[in-house]
Symmetry: none
Subunit: 416 residues, 2 copies
Amino acid sequence: MIAEIIITGDEICSGAVIDSNSSHIAQMLEGEGIQVLRHNSVCDDIDTIVSILKETGNRADIAVVTGGLGPTTDDLTPEAAAKAAGVGLVVNDIAQSSIEDFFKTRNCSMTDIDRKQAMLPEGAECLCNPVGTAPGFQLKIGRSHFFFLPGVPFEMRRMLADSVLPWIERRYGSKREFSFIRNISIFGMTEADINQRLAGLAEKFSGIKPGFRANFPEIHVKLYARGKDKNTCNELLIKASEWILSKIGDNVFSVDGESMEAVVGDLLRHKKASLAIAESCTGGLLSHWITNVPGSSDYFLFSGVTYSNEAKIKVLGVLPETIERCGAVHEETAKEMAEGVRRVSGADYGLATTGIAGPGGGTDEKPVGTVCVGIATPDAIKEYRFNFTSGNRSMNKKIFAMKALDLLRMELLSKK
Amino acid sequence: MIAEIIITGDEICSGAVIDSNSSHIAQMLEGEGIQVLRHNSVCDDIDTIVSILKETGNRADIAVVTGGLGPTTDDLTPEAAAKAAGVGLVVNDIAQSSIEDFFKTRNCSMTDIDRKQAMLPEGAECLCNPVGTAPGFQLKIGRSHFFFLPGVPFEMRRMLADSVLPWIERRYGSKREFSFIRNISIFGMTEADINQRLAGLAEKFSGIKPGFRANFPEIHVKLYARGKDKNTCNELLIKASEWILSKIGDNVFSVDGESMEAVVGDLLRHKKASLAIAESCTGGLLSHWITNVPGSSDYFLFSGVTYSNEAKIKVLGVLPETIERCGAVHEETAKEMAEGVRRVSGADYGLATTGIAGPGGGTDEKPVGTVCVGIATPDAIKEYRFNFTSGNRSMNKKIFAMKALDLLRMELLSKK
């Protein structure tokens, strides 16, 4: 079974936006045992869209199309689909009532423009959108079953999971081979290092296809196993994961796709310990990550984003002499920040970052990319200094925050 | 002039890697005045590559292809290009000596496998690769000029700049039209609302093509103008932007692609005012955004991410009675948080958020999506309550933080 993906939108074609929808859709389809042969992105031009729909209709068994379902004038997909299928546009009752419901539950009123979204090609089956106004639809064009979804990633993902994958399951069910994936997340090693340590993986586990993906500042090793029997595939994946763990060690922070902040959160919850954070150079990113995890209020108490020296002194109790003697970016300052935030908040653990994210503020002694981390535990206070040379401000904030979380993870693991 | 982009590689087609090459190539080509109508990604299958090359050769004036030039068995592009052009593969002398040079300057020896990379389609013009072993090439297939480049982004970008763009400049020079873009950013309106208010835009400004893009929680209106004369295009874009401003008003927060946090930062800097933040439900995201702007330490002093009630009381001086009487999520609490963080930090402005991001913690009276915002200014303290129904935790954090920044922006604008 062969699938194609079609992404519509000028913003994708002109390069203004990087398309991440294709990659998600491809992964999900491959997970269902369907091979994706082509991705196509086309601009918002009706003739171009019609012709790609017709071509794909001659080549693929299944096609997923995103974008162009909204209410505005550059939303051309339903019209293009109708033309490609040789039918007209008609009001789809299910689409109409799903749009009405969407507005009703939000106490908003529906405009004529919103109503445009209920016009679908004749014969199309409406795919309801539980999280947005634009409904999707399913339509046969040529020999191919087309699924039209919104371009907003959040809505597309939900509808792919709720409507498209179950449809495929119902229709093609037991005929397929499945793909099983394991996502091993690594921090603190380069792709080349990892590649070298894992030499021989493909020979040792012949049913496994590995894939490497840099997702700065993490590296993910994805293991794909294909087969009809779920148990056999899973056993193989577990064995391969264990082998990788034995080769890479503690740099692996999760083997099931869990994020670093979720792993740290699990460790804190397991120890019934609480956390407070003092951030300078990471500017709130550490706290943002920690609080992205649902239920993080169980262990996260407080973070002081102390950008000014005054705030470090007044809120965290860092000694003015320390800042004067060592500077704001220094192990001693990081130590006092960690200790201070632990004391102020009453938390079990205090984690602190101070550094230079750039672009300005670097010196010969403390160049851009320098970060000092302090960790205050119930028993001790530890301090570290690192220099990262990855470049821009946003990357520096990320790698600083990740390094701090990774140090806390190792600290929590050592006391397990 | 019409271009297409073709990306080859199983890792792209299976979704294991997100393709960022297309977006870069498209931007560069559009900058040269060439319209990119389609991107295509195909897997490493010789027949699929041959057919996409032939199809594109019938449609486009120019095509850029990446990937599959290396020495390994899954590198199939030169063979596919030769088949599509109906020629054979031959040793290309320039390619051969460029590969030899590459190894010589690095004191490495060349293997037979490396030599495979000097086999190019007959009649192809070699494009030297100054930063890697695999040379690229230029070849006419159908009516289209094809440029074949490596898939490694670093090598591809260098060769696109060194070889492809100058070739286009030489060949098509003064004949081309250029594309100019303006990005108008809007917060607090739906796409349908915006579309309705901007009805008539396309008729009024016939040289302008508008595009709408939802980038939650913002909506961007992109204006594209095409022409040979830069000044004429720019004047048209300015007029169209002014018209849009007159229709949408204060919901437009920038007309040049600047982010909300940068706009707020500019307003603070202009007033020589400083800012402190107290965050509960936004969990550090507000501070993270504010500190993403280089130079934000000029106006940003401190943020207290006070997740626990104790932290609200101890760090910000919120009255325990207020929390007991009204709860942590309440206008009164937001007010005291804003006032408290302003006092503690000595900042001119204090901005506070407290709300329920979910998934847990909602009640009938205060459902998930409720947020209270407090703003303490040198003259007054204001408080607000909103309810957003967009859904998940991460979206709620975003829209809460954006709403708070937008209220601060309006406050700063009103005192300009």
